[in-house]
């Protein structure tokens, strides 16, 4: 077991390193650079040359990569933003990650239970209208692009706010950065309600794809499972349908569902880039989008790459451990 764990951790580290190196090199390979964005139509050739040298961009890219990894590894400092004067990227990310985490968790809380419930209903009434309706919605959920859905919802649901995390006139000194938690800790029910209202639309939009995927995978795993011998036996012994589904079939189908759900959590991070941009959600995704599109801020982009790679890799690690717990056969291998 320990050996397994060590192997998985090493795997995760290598994945992070490779991902960061790829982003680091790619962002420097694409045309344009942060200084062009800084100076716009008023460039100052001498100053630009000086800043290039100061940032070490005149050195070979692998040397730059080495220096960057050394700096991060030894000090944990991700560097200073190139687009935003005198701002440390680590501090910037510290403020934004909780916003993304809150949004992602909210989407998960919606997506996984609802997806599993829809999958169960569809599997139980296979080929009847609940199945057809559920799977039609699931197909629609996967197919409709997030930004399109966001724009449509925004037009229809006019009673919910469509921007930011709180009304402009409201603010709260952060503790954890998760507004739902902080507002309760600080005893501010008004902030809590406002935060939930702001969270609803983006969370629903972000939840659609994982919810649909989870519903489909739950359905297909359960359909297989419900046709198997041990289920028939259980039914023959008089267990009720729901008992059989919830106590016998679902736990057995849990491994593929966990697998897919886990992957979806990772994908939520990429969905967050779009959702956060459409809803002006001040999180990691929006920060990354503006660092890439507008500013070409190398430092911000590579810092986001590290954070996302670490999140992804740790998530996978946790999932690997969850499989072991769910399915003893993996433990034995």
């Amino acid at each position: 077991m320990i050996g397994y764990l060590v192997r998985r951790v090493l795997h995760a580290l290598v994945t992070i390193l490779v991902a960061v190196a790829l982003v680091f090199i790619a962002v420097r390979a694409i045309p344009g650079n942060p200084l062009l964005a800084r100076f716009g139509q008023h460039p100052d050739a001498d100053e630009i040359a000086r800043l290039r040298a100061e940032n070490g961009w005149d050195r070979p890219v692998l040397v730059q990569l080495g220096q960057f990894l050394w700096q991060v590894g030894t000090t944990g400092d991700l560097g200073r933003s190139l687009a935003r004067t005198n701002v440390n990227v680590t501090d910037e990310l510290r403020k934004r990650i909780p916003a993304t985490v809150e949004l992602t968790l909210a989407a998960l809380v919606l997506a996984i239970p609802l997806g599993i419930a829809a999958g169960i209903v569809a599997a139980v009434w296979r080929n009847r209208w609940p199945d057809r309706l559920g799977m039609f919605l699931a197909l629609a959920g996967v197919s409709v692009p997030i930004f399109f859905l966001a724009i449509c919802l925004r037009e229809v649901v006019t009673f919910l706010p469509t921007s930011q995390r709180l009304p402009l006139t409201m603010s709260l000194e952060p503790l954890t950065g998760l507004l739902l938690v902080d507002s309760l800790l600080r005893g501010r029910p008004d902030v809590f309600v406002a935060a939930v209202r702001h969270l609803l639309l983006p969370a629903v939009v972000l939840a659609t794809i994982p919810m649909s995927v989870v519903a489909r995978i739950t359905r297909s795993s359960l359909v297989d499972m419900l046709a198997s011998d041990f289920i028939r036996t259980a039914r023959a012994k008089g267990a009720s349908l729901w008992r059989v589904v919830l106590r016998h079939a679902l736990p057995t189908a849990a491994v593929p569902i966990t697998n897919i759900a886990g992957l979806q959590i990772g994908l939520l991070l990429s969905g967050a880039v779009l959702t956060e941009t459409v809803f002006d959600w001040p999180g990691l995704g929006r920060y990354l989008a503006s660092a890439i599109i507008g500013d070409r801020d190398y430092v911000a982009i590579q810092a986001c790459a590290i954070v996302i790679a670490v999140l992804f890799a740790s998530l996978n690690l946790v999932l690997d451990l969850v499989y072991v717990w769910l399915d003893p056969r993996i433990r034995l291998q």
């Binding site: 045309p31 344009g32 200084l35 062009l36 964005a37 800084r38 100076f39 716009g40 139509q41 008023h42 460039p43 100052d44 050739a45 100053e47 630009i48 800043l51 687009a83 935003r84 004067t85 005198n86 701002v87 403020k95 934004r96 139980v124 009434w125 296979r126 009847r128 209208w129 609940p130 724009i151 925004r154 037009e155 229809v156 649901v157 006019t158 009673f159 706010p161 469509t162 921007s163 930011q164 995390r165 009304p167 402009l168 006139t169 603010s171 419900l226 046709a227 289920i231 039914r235 349908l241 941009t277 459409v278 002006d280 001040p282 929006r286 920060y287 503006s290 507008g294 500013d295 070409r296």
Partner: protein, 541 residues
């Protein structure tokens, strides 16, 4: 396997439920928008597409930051509320020596910064030296896009607390105009020293609104400054919010969640203008969109070829196509709203058949074959002077095809696009300019003078004319406005004769706001000054 039967009415219940949900949605929506503005009447919310990157006036050149800086800081001199005439601000009066090398400014008495520091000549010296000196202890970021605009200042002296003397390297007619620009904002020296590099996130000036808080990508809050020398602003708070998507700005404006929005497309603004609770302001813009022809690249080095291209473009069609009618065809690079503008010269007419004939003749004479293949470099993103670059590039391609020029489009991100043009790697290039200081020199010298042919220079056509250069240098030194006007008239006529560029259009500036917002007018320079802004009483028209 046994399946529990579906209750027959389940489907009906589901449909009813869905219907009920949707209708409550609609009902709430109605009451929600009926509730009107979410903020109190003394708070003005201004939505911009981006958040500023920095609030240190010397380190930025993006409009979103400038809109904040203009309200938080003052400059020594500024523009009149409605025109571009230079009027006193922190300097009550000024004079210059006969040779134009010494300028003396007398500061307005009794002015204080938001942190209580009194305005003294020393504060002005520090603020300006942060721009003029290569290294300055109070410069915390060396990226200073506008530094060259202050290069004429040699020394800054402070004979007493309320007098500032600027010693120039050479006489300069644009000194005042440049001192009115936002980089020359006067910053509290106490705050700079105390806050150090954090001052980029905590600006302290003498402006009508004092900085309160900024959570990046969320909101930037400023509050009325009670002791402002022009009196307290009429609103209590001015909040800037970044709302990236145009559609969201439009929607939030319609819902009354924000009060003022800009950077919308002509079509979006036209549709907002039809709504009774909103108003769209329009003012002539200090800008130009133009087609740069790289005159070093044959056959664009031949006047006939450039002339033929000029004659193939119908600027009126462009106004309709790319600007929904909210622009005017350009004859000069200088916008008509700016002093110094001249149209007292002939420009080639729009005449595609004649253009075609001219190009054929040029092809025979200079030995190139038709169709002439040219690359047109364009930017992917909209600019204030080019709200729909795709529409314009499509039109140009078709228009030039008519006269025998086969255009291939070469699109880039906007910053790389300008880098490409500055390096002269293009043949034809779509470009534009937005006034920095409301002086014709800023358009003519920056965009057409041979001094600005370099990897970082804005003479994108690489136009070289000795006479033009002489006129520009003379214009920069001449302090008599009438004489300067003559110089710029001749320069504009010269450009119309040599045709290094095709000036296309001057775009109108437009902004949308809730109708209740009053006391705000779009300034020709594009500055957004909200000192006089206020909300009409509820129920008032």
């Amino acid at each position: 396997m046994l399946v529990p039967p579906l209750p027959p009415q389940a489907g009906v219940v589901l449909v009813l439920l869905a219907g009920a949900l949707l209708s409550t949605g609609g009902g709430c929506g109605g009451s929600g928008s009926g509730g009107g503005s979410s903020a109190s009447d003394s708070v003005l919310i201004y939505a911009q597409p981006e958040d500023p990157k920095t609030l240190d006036p010397i380190n930025t050149d993006i409009a979103e930051a400038v809109h904040v800086l203009t309200n938080v800081f003052d400059t020594l001199v500024t523009y009149d509320d409605e025109t571009t005439e230079i009027v006193p601000a922190l300097a009550e009066s000024w004079e210059h020596s006969e040779d134009g090398l010494t300028w003396t400014f007398r500061l307005r008495p009794g002015v204080t910064f938001h942190d209580g520091t009194p305005l003294t000549s020393e504060a002005v010296k520090v603020s300006l030296e942060r721009l003029t000196q290569e290294k300055h202890p109070l410069v915390f970021d060396t990226a200073r896009p506008y530094r060259s605009a202050y290069a004429m200042i040699d020394q800054i002296e402070t004979p007493d607390e309320s007098t500032v003397v600027l010693k120039l390297k050479a006489p300069s007619a644009i000194l005042l105009a440049n001192l009115a620009m936002f980089p020359a904002s006067i910053v509290s020296p106490t705050a700079l020293t105390k806050l150090g590099e954090k001052s980029a996130e905590h600006p302290v000036g003498t402006g009508a609104f004092k900085f309160v808080e900024w959570s990046r990508d969320e909101k930037l809050v400023t509050a009325a400054f009670d002791e402002h020398w022009r009196g307290r602003p009429k609103i209590d708070q001015l909040i800037f919010v970044p709302v990236r998507e145009n559609a969201t700005r439009v929607q939030r404006l319609s819902r009354g969640e924000i009060h003022l929005a800009d950077s919308l497309t002509p079509v979006e603004l036209d549709s907002l203008a039809k709504r009774s609770e909103l108003a769209v302001q329009e003012a002539v813009g200090m800008n130009v969109a133009y087609l740069a022809m790289q005159t070093e690249k044959p056959p664009l080095d031949k006047l006939d070829v450039r002339r033929a291209i000029y004659m193939a473009i119908d600027k009126r069609a462009l106004v309709k196509l790319g600007y929904a009618g909210h622009a005017q065809p350009a004859v000069s690079m200088v916008p008509p709203a700016m002093w110094g503008y001249s149209d007292a010269f002939e420009v080639p007419p729009y005449d595609p058949p004649a253009a075609k004939a001219l190009l054929e003749q040029a092809a025979r004479q200079h030995g190139f074959s038709l169709p002439l293949k040219l690359r047109l470099s364009v930017m992917n993103q909209a600019r204030p002077y080019l709200p729909q670059p795709q529409a314009i590039q499509g039109y140009l391609k078709e228009a030039l095809a008519q006269i025998g020029v086969e255009v291939s489009i070469d699109a880039r991100d906007v910053n790389q696009h300008f880098e490409h043009l500055m390096a002269g790697r293009h043949e034809l290039g779509l470009a534009g300019w937005f006034s920095d200081n409301s002086d014709p020199d800023n358009f003519l010298y920056s965009l057409l003078d041979s001094d600005n042919i370099s990897e970082a220079g804005n003479n994108l056509s690489r136009y070289r004319s000795e006479r033009f250069h002489e006129l520009m240098l003379a214009g920069q030194k001449e302090l008599d406005t009438a004489k300067r006007l003559e110089l710029y008239r001749e320069a504009q006529a010269l450009v119309a004769q040599d045709l290094p560029v095709v000036p296309l259009v001057h775009t109108s500036q437009r902004a949308a706001h809730v109708k209740r917002l009053q006391g705000f007018t779009l300034h020709p320079t594009g500055l957004v000054r909200l000192h006089q802004a206020h909300f009409a009483e509820a129920g008032a028209p």
